[in-house]
């Protein structure tokens, strides 16, 4: 395990893996800590190379990356998108999966498991897909910004910041495709964990059991 791993993320490799992943069933594995992963991602034993508090931050970020990766991967598999939204889902999905992979490798056995997700059909057509993508990406930007000041390790900080601005690029891209202003304000504000957890919980996208066939409507308002 190396702290440098995050800096060497290979998008092309991730894309190749993504294409391979499309043929595999069960990307969303039943192994998760569900929403508890967001609130209580606290490994019992600190890894030598990363301060314990940074592991906590990384696991928190990992859950958000699980959420995004699962969302885009499901959108790609559902095959209900076309044109530019389809391309965006493919490209952004590959990057989010690369983030998941990098965090998991960085954390090793301290990595929290993947929660169960139920996106309730929003991955199946462009309009709800884009609306949800905008919400997720803006949320990720605010979450990374909220966590960054807690990071102690310089290497972890550099990686987290480099991902933070990539999430901002994704947010702008999805906003553009959804007809929103890509940069609505001169300053982006951070959100703390309590706020982020509340927003994620309100979507009901993270479930405590493997995905069912139900199609509840999401309650969140992007």
């Amino acid at each position: 395990m190396s702290l440098e791993r995050l800096d060497r993320l290979d998008v092309d490799g991730a894309l190749a893996e993504a294409c391979d992943g499309l043929t595999r069933a069960g990307f969303i594995v039943a192994a998760g800590a569900a929403l508890a992963g967001l609130a209580a991602a606290r490994p019992a034993v600190a890894e030598a190379a990363i301060p314990r508090s940074d592991q906590d931050v990384l696991n928190y970020a990992l859950v958000l990356e699980y959420l995004q990766a699962a969302f885009y991967t499901e959108a790609e598999r559902a095959n209900g998108l076309s044109g530019r939204p389809a391309k965006a889902a493919r490209v952004v999905g590959a990057v989010e999966r690369a983030h998941v992979k990098a965090f998991r490798e960085l954390l090793g056995r301290k990595a929290v498991g993947r929660p169960h997700f139920d996106f309730q059909g929003v991955t199946e057509s462009s309009k709800p897909f884009l609306k949800t993508a905008v919400a997720f990406e803006d949320l990720a930007v605010a979450a990374y910004k909220g966590q960054a000041r807690l990071v102690r390790s310089k290497a972890v900080l550099a990686s987290a910041l480099g991902i933070h601005t990539v999430e901002a690029r994704h947010a702008a891209w999805m906003r553009y495709l959804n007809g929103n202003t890509p940069a609505a304000d001169a300053f982006d504000l951070p959100r703390n964990r309590r706020e982020i957890n509340g927003i994620v919980a309100s979507t009901e996208f993270i479930s405590d059991r493997p995905r069912s066939t139900s199609r509840r409507r999401p309650r969140y308002t992007g």
């Binding site: 993320l9 990098a102 807690l150 900080l157 910041l161 601005t165 990539v166 690029r169 504000l189």
Partner: protein
């Protein structure tokens, strides 16, 4: 509009900091207060190595330089590049953001702010295509410069910069969306050190 500085041509000499400071004073004072409040919030030992007030000044002046170039670039483009439609709307919206960033940093630096540099933005803003290409490079440079300095500053300056850098990233993706490019070509944005940041700014039109 506090001022209409034109950065049109190399022979147009821009006086350092002439009208901007007075025009934006109210905003700057408010921003300085906000930065001071933010500084008081966090433990001073959070980050790395030895951030210091002196180092903050050096870093914030580099970021100020980025914002100076951005403001001058969008002003020059709106004056000279023949922008219309979506590109013009983009340039006007982003210019307002960059002006707010500039005022924020000027307020944070106060009397320690470096004077405004000189520019030669004629090539970068010669037409819509040159503008779009230069915009992507300039906004990437802004993202890289902010990310590259994050570990070198005290927590207060860090939080202030963090609120700006993601907006620069949004701009970078926005222009690429308009031009149907790839808005997010990398999985992790690379940090630029000071030398690289300056080279990129000079490539756009910062006079060296």
């Amino acid at each position: 509009m506090p001022h209409h500085r034109v950065a049109r041509a190399p022979d147009r000499d821009i006086q350092p900091g002439h009208t901007r400071r007075s025009g934006l004073r109210t905003t700057a004072v408010a921003a300085g207060g906000a930065l001071a409040a933010v500084t008081a919030m966090g433990p001073a030992d959070r980050l790395v190595a030895a951030p210091s007030a002196e180092q903050d000044v050096r870093v914030l002046n580099l970021l100020l330089l980025v914002e100076y170039v951005e403001v001058a670039f969008y002003e020059a483009a709106l004056a000279n590049a023949g922008l219309s439609g979506e590109l013009e709307d983009f340039a006007r919206a982003v210019l307002e953001h960059e002006r707010e960033h500039l005022a924020y940093l000027e307020g944070a630096l106060g009397a320690k702010a470096d004077p405004e540099p000189r520019y030669d933005l004629a090539d970068a803003t010669s037409d819509a295509d040159a503008f779009a290409e230069s915009t992507a490079r300039l906004e990437d440079a802004a993202v890289g410069a902010y990310n590259g300095q994050a570990a070198n500053v005290t927590p207060g300056a860090f939080l202030a910069a963090a609120r700006i850098v993601s907006v620069e990233a949004r701009h970078a993706a926005w222009i690429r969306s308009i031009r149907n490019g790839d808005p997010a070509p990398d999985a992790v944005d690379k940090p630029y050190d000071e030398a690289r940041a300056r080279r990129e700014l000079e490539a756009i039109g910062l006079a060296s």
